[in-house]
Amino acid sequence: MKDLNKEQYQEFLFGPAHPGSGNFSVKIKLDGEKVIESKSDPGYLHRGFEKLMEYRNIWQNAILSDRICVFEPLAWNLLFAEAMEKLINIEIPERAKYIRVILAELSRIQSHFIWLGAFFSASGFDAGFKIAFGYRDYILDLFSAVTGGRVYPAGYICPGGVRKDLPRDIESKILKVLGKIREAVSYFEKENPAFVSRTKGVGILKLEDAIRLGASGPVLRATGFRQDVRKSEPYEIYQKVAFNLPVLKEGDAYSRFKIGLLEIAESVKIIEQLLDKIPSGNFINAKMKFGAAFNFPDDREVYVRNEIARGEGTMYVKSKAGPKLERIKIKGPSFLHLIPVLEFLLKGTEVADIPIIYWSLNGCPADMDR
C-alpha cells in the first residue's frame, strides 16, 4: 500500500487554462494512468456577488445579475427579477411573461450549444465544436435584436417585466432561427462513432449518488430521475405549455450529452407554442420604472428556485427598509456539479477521460464561484 502523502504518486493540475477547463482547475493524484484522488480548486472567478449586491440598488443589481454566469445571463436575470417580484409582491403583465419564457428557452438552447460544443472539443471532435458555436450565433443575433446585447442583456429581464418591448417582425426571425436549430440537432443526432466510443460508459453516476451529492438538471435526469423545477414548481407560464422531460437511465457521459440534445428539441417546441400566442399590452408593470428610485419594504425574505440550463439555480433574498438589500444568497448548480460530483466521478478513472467527464457535467465556473 502506497502512502498518499509521500511522493509516490504523480500530481498534476487539470486547468486552469481557459481552453481546457474554463477558469477552474482540479488537483489530481495519479498512480500510473489511474486517478487516485482529485480535488477541485475553485475560486478563479470569485467576484463576491453576494457582497457586491448588498452595496447596490435594485436596477444596478438587475444589470449585475447578468454576470453571474457567462453561459446564460438571461436565466440569472430572470431568477433575480422573480426574486424581487416575490419580495415586493407585484404582478407582472402577461406579455412580459411570454417574452421572458421565450428568451429563457432561447438562452437554454444557446447554453446547451456552448456546452455541447466544448464537450465535442474536449473529445477531439473539432468539427462538432465549430458547428455548435456557429449555430449559437444565430441565437446571439436574436438576443442582440431583442435586448441590445449579444451575450449580456444588461438587465433586459428586470423586476416588473422586461425593459423594452419586442422589436417588430421578431416572430418570423425567431421562427427562422428555430429552423436552423433543428438543422443543428439533426446534424448531432447522426452519431459520430468516435465521439460515442469516447463517451459511452464513461463517468457513470448512479441515481442514489446523484441525489446524495446534490446533482440537478440534465446531470440528474441522465441518471433516471424525473425532476425539473419547471414541472414541479412552475414559474412564469410554464404550467400553460406542454413539453416532455427527457430522462435516461444510464447516467454516463453519453447519456448526459443525449439529454442535452433532447432538451434543445423540447425548448424549440416550447418556443413554437408561445410565439403566436403572445398577448398584446404592457411589457412592464406600471409601478416599476427602470432606473427610478426604489425603496424595499422592511424585513421580508424569499427563496426562489428556477430551472436554468445547468440545473437548479436558487436565490435567497432578505430586504431591509431603503434602496439596498440586506442579504442575497445565490446558489448555482455548477457549485455541486463541479466540486462534489466531479471529485466523486474522477476517482478511479483514467487520465484521458478527465476532460470528457468534466465537460459532460455541463459546468460553468462562473456560477460556481459567483
Binding site: G43, H46, K51, I211, L213, G214, E233, Y303, R305
Partner: protein, 162 residues
C-alpha cells in the same frame, strides 16, 4: 406533510414562521438540528438545496437557513437556526446530507461559522486569505482594500482616501 410538521412541533419544539405555496419556513433550536434533519430525510426530504447564512449585527446573531426540498411532496422546508455571533459554532449535517458538506465549507470561509464534524473545512475561493470572514457585515471591504493595497503617499492612489 401535516404529520411531519406536527411531529417536528411536538418532538423538537419547532415553530412555524410562515407558510407559502410549496414552501414552509420553520424556526428550530440549534441542539435539535441533526435530529430534525434525520427525521425529515426519512420522510422524503432528500434534496439539500442550499444553505444560507445571514449576519444580523444588531442582534449579535448569525442566522443559518437550511433549504431542503422534497420531490414527492413538492415542498421546500426552510429551517432557520440562530447561533451566537461571538462563538459561531454548530454541528454539521454532512453525515445526513452529503451535499451539505460543500455548502458548509463555503459558509465557513465567508462567514467564519465553524461546523463541528464536517470532514473538510479548508478554504474554497479565497487564496492566502488571512483577514476576517469577508461576508460578515462588520467587514468593510473598502477599508480593507485601502489599508492593504493603497498608500496615501502614492500620488495616483491618494484619491481613494478622500
Amino acid at each position: 406533510m401535516r404529520n411531519i410538521i406536527l411531529t417536528l412541533k411536538s418532538k423538537f419544539g419547532v415553530e412555524i414562521l410562515k407558510e407559502e405555496k410549496k414552501q414552509i419556513w420553520l424556526k428550530a433550536d440549534k441542539k435539535n438540528l441533526l435530529k430534525i434533519c434525520s427525521l425529515i430525510k426519512k420522510n422524503g426530504f432528500n434534496f439539500f438545496s442550499s444553505l444560507t447564512a445571514v449576519d444580523i449585527l444588531e442582534k449579535n446573531v448569525i442566522e443559518l437557513i437550511y433549504h431542503i426540498w422534497s420531490e414527492e411532496k413538492k415542498t421546500i422546508l426552510n429551517i432557520k437556526i440562530k447561533i451566537d455571533r461571538e462563538r459561531p459554532e454548530i454541528s454539521s449535517v454532512s453525515n445526513v446530507y452529503d451535499a451539505s458538506q460543500i455548502h458548509e465549507r463555503e459558509i465557513r470561509e465567508l462567514f467564519g461559522v465553524n461546523f463541528l464534524g464536517n470532514p473538510d473545512l479548508s478554504s474554497l475561493f479565497l487564496e492566502d486569505w488571512s483577514g476576517p470572514a469577508p461576508f460578515l457585515k462588520s467587514f468593510d471591504w473598502r477599508n480593507y482594500v485601502r489599508k492593504k493595497f493603497y498608500s496615501k503617499e502614492n500620488k495616483r492612489e491618494r484619491g481613494y482616501f478622500t
